[in-house]
Amino acid sequence: MKLAPAGPVRSPASRKAFVELEDLSMIYEAAPDSRLLALDRVGCAIAESEFCTIVGPSGCGKSTLLMLTAGLYRPSAGRVVIDGTPVTGPWHGVGMVFQRDLLLEWRTALDNVLLPIEVKKLPRPAFEDRARSLLRLVGLAGFENAFPEQLSVGMRQRVAICRALIHDPRLLLMDEPFAAVDLLTREKLGLDLLRLTDEHPKTVLFVTHSVEEAVLLSDEVLVFGPRPGRILRRLENDLPKPRSLASRSDVRFHRLVDEIRAVFQAAGVLS
């Protein structure tokens, strides 16, 4: 397979880079003679406390990119640098949210949120108040002792977000976190997330295949092209903050959405 030329994209030099992806390539070897190039020399830098969305079609290696950033997969080439240090194994200052909420059914909402504290063997009492206040922030006050099966899909995902934030990670990696949620709840969850990351500043890498969601939430959008996954365009998002449902009717919102669609169209993703 031939590698397509793709130059690294740099963020404005004015802000300090927190996550640097340096010419990341990922090859999956399905069989001895069948290799899949999932990522092709992806390079970019994400500034501290920036909300960066990655938008692209299915199978463009977006999830792989998150796994590489977390240090859970090893890249075939290139490297990930977080806060100036190359990542060689699971990087522990990270919070992760997936499409599935992955709540443990036998634990209450509160105990699910406290799972990272238990795993990291931190003192539970010290974090219990924090867990309660996180749950309150996402509108789940009074549900601390509810079991996941008693919660709606949207509520469950809120618990999962609290679990990702409980240990105050500096980096939040989200892999289509709201894809299983209905559209109305989805935008509300997104805006809740913005409120949370406003109160507890985090660098966020947020994967989605919804162009609107990518624009509504981000400071910056990375537009990914399919097979092999690569950055087609990097866009600064000038949509004013704080964002609300009203941001959707802003002219700039539509301009950005159109611009991203045009990039996809040019790459042959939309026809």
Binding site: M96, V119, K120, D175
Partner: protein, 258 residues
Amino acid sequence: MRRNAAVLVVYGVLLAAWAVAGSLPSVPAFILPSPLAILHRVARDPGTLVFHSLVTLQEVVFGFLLAVLLGIPLGVLIVWSRLLERLFYPALVALQAIPKVALAPILVIWFGFGPTSKVTLAFVTALFPIVIDTVVGMSQTPPEMIHLMRSLGASGLQIFTKVRLIAAAPQVFGGFKIGITLAMVGAVVGEFIAANSGLGYYLLIANNAFDAPLLFGIVILLSLLSVALFYLIELIEMLVLPRPLRRSAWKIQPGAGA
């Protein structure tokens, strides 16, 4: 309550039909003894029946416990390591494929006429479903959950004790339920081949004496004991597992698994 009443009515009708059929002059008593005749025969010497039941029960319980004690670690090892999976899995399937009746004479040669050979046979029969259900239950943990745990710095042991094992519990209990009924089959088969006590042995005695009512009585007792053991496991499951785990550990969400 109405459903319970319906169940009672159905069983009552079946029993009555049996009683009528058994008392027909054209049906000899040694082919189909009536329920009343069976009850009479059983009531004449309940002590012997209780004695043989206890022998069989003991074999079943020991064989089953052995299968649990070895089956769960074996399942864990199979999930844990590819090498051990290749090593144990085919052997386990091969063992399961052997008719247990064929195994019984060998076990008698090895372990003698006493209960040990029956315990072993019960163990061998119950092992398979317990191992398989442990493997299946533990493999159901979504890969993302493992990623999530690893990203938190969890060790393999932590992922195992905090997530995989607990999540596998409903499935493992399913394996227990199949295992205990199979252990009963194993023990009785063992007693059939060579024994000097146990319900299987007593069944052969009754058969040789053309004692049809006793024969039927023992068969009914065997099935009642199996049912009792099955529901005992279910009771333990209810007591041990937290309520949300009683159905299944991982909920499938719409659009998930992409």
